[in-house]
Amino acid sequence: MIITKYLTILGRYLILMGRTFSVPERMRMFFKSYIKEMAQLGVNSIGIVLLISFFIGAVICIQMKLNIQSPWMPRWVSGYTTREIMLLEFSSSIMCLILAGKVGSNIASELGTMRVTQQIDALEIMGVNSASYLILPKIMGMLTLMPCLVTFSSATGILGAYATAYVGHVLPPDDLTIGLQHSFKPWFMYMSLIKSQFFAFIITSVPAFCGYTVEGGSVNVGKASTDAVVTSSVLILFSDVFLTQLLS
């Protein structure tokens, strides 16, 4: 019974995605929405990404220095582990989990409200493919800006680590620099960017599905918003396991 229920939901999600990925009726209108969504979902998230990445970078560096560094370990170990954690997991997976909360609830509540106030019905009556008009610019906007967010996150995390060295004097800046440059593999950077593209698709399409299919009133919009965040977070974690295995 539960399997049937989840298969039904998956089927409905795939049908919605089928409708979403159709050629926009008016490219001019699509690009207008696309620019707006890039600003709303991507540019408006830069602040929180920078803030969290800076402090997480700093905290990881301090933790590594306090708990890993020992006389038997090389001096560069704190910088090295900080870089690897930021690059491999934090900037892509954890940052996307955070964005799932911000962007996911935003998309689900926006589309849910449009559904219950009949704005989506109004689009359908006009003969507009509402799924494509509303959802496609969000997905494309997030996919476009996600590499920037991941890059900013990694860079700001490293800045946070340097802050602990220069301002907090937790470790010598030279040791941190040596660690950050030690055995650097550019592929890890690409891996992070590839993973983030999958996560960007999840954190836009899943909340869009939750919001678009809302039935009822404001209580259901709230529920859809919560479901969107929970479901996209779980899917990010699951796909992270597979993607890490696949790309490593």
Binding site: T117, Q118, Q119, D121, A122, I125, M126, G127, N129
Partner: protein, 269 residues
Amino acid sequence: MIEVKNLYKSFEDKDVLKDINTVFEDGKTNLIIGQSGSGKTVLMKNLVGLLDPTSGQVLYDGRDFVAMSKSEKVHMRREMGMIFQSAALFDSLTVLENVMFPLDMFSTMNLRERTKRAMDCLERVNLHGAEEKFPGEISGGMQKRVAIARAIALNPKYLFCDEPNSGLDPKTSLVIDDLLQDITREYNMTTIINTHDMNSVMGIGENIIFIYEGHKEWQGVSSQIMHSDNTRLTDFIFASDLLKNMRQLVLEKEADPFATAPLDPSRHG
């Protein structure tokens, strides 16, 4: 002209619409009336294709909308305008952008022509000066007028209004009713209005369909309601004691124009 033939609609085991047969005429304000839960909104959603009927036909000038392919329906919908109960204006767009939206999507006009057309529509609904406001900044009556302007922007052949007077004061309701009637005549549209408002029924009802528990109970014009012997209809229209007494008075007056008998006090609520 829209013709409905043998229309049935069921939700699981509940029959909401049963064998609806009716005609909505061109250039007239066609009203669908009935109690809450009688199936009016479901009928309208079947007419515009937001719901698919369980069986039956909806013929737009002889073309069966139910049997049309998806692309034919999309094309057909460009000939329809709809005013929702909640106005359903796009929150993120200004009044002018809302009215321009269907033009932006479907017309081949340039920006200047689209803006002019949208301004003309706003002028038509007496909303000049509110172009740059957002839906949240204007009153309910103004929102309904913006919705009318948006609905007529592409010169639709068919206009659907789901409870256009809901939540409006009686005076604003009259303005909306007059506007809908004028626009219907001006553009020779087939206008279908789903309403509870008895002022609308008596004022602009040129073809009235009364739905009772999912079936068509009565069809006629507003002038026939007063003399109808259909008790379900008269009980619905003249629901309050005041209206019952007024009807009684009118009927008595018509029967004996010289009678001066006062209203029976026992009939007052």
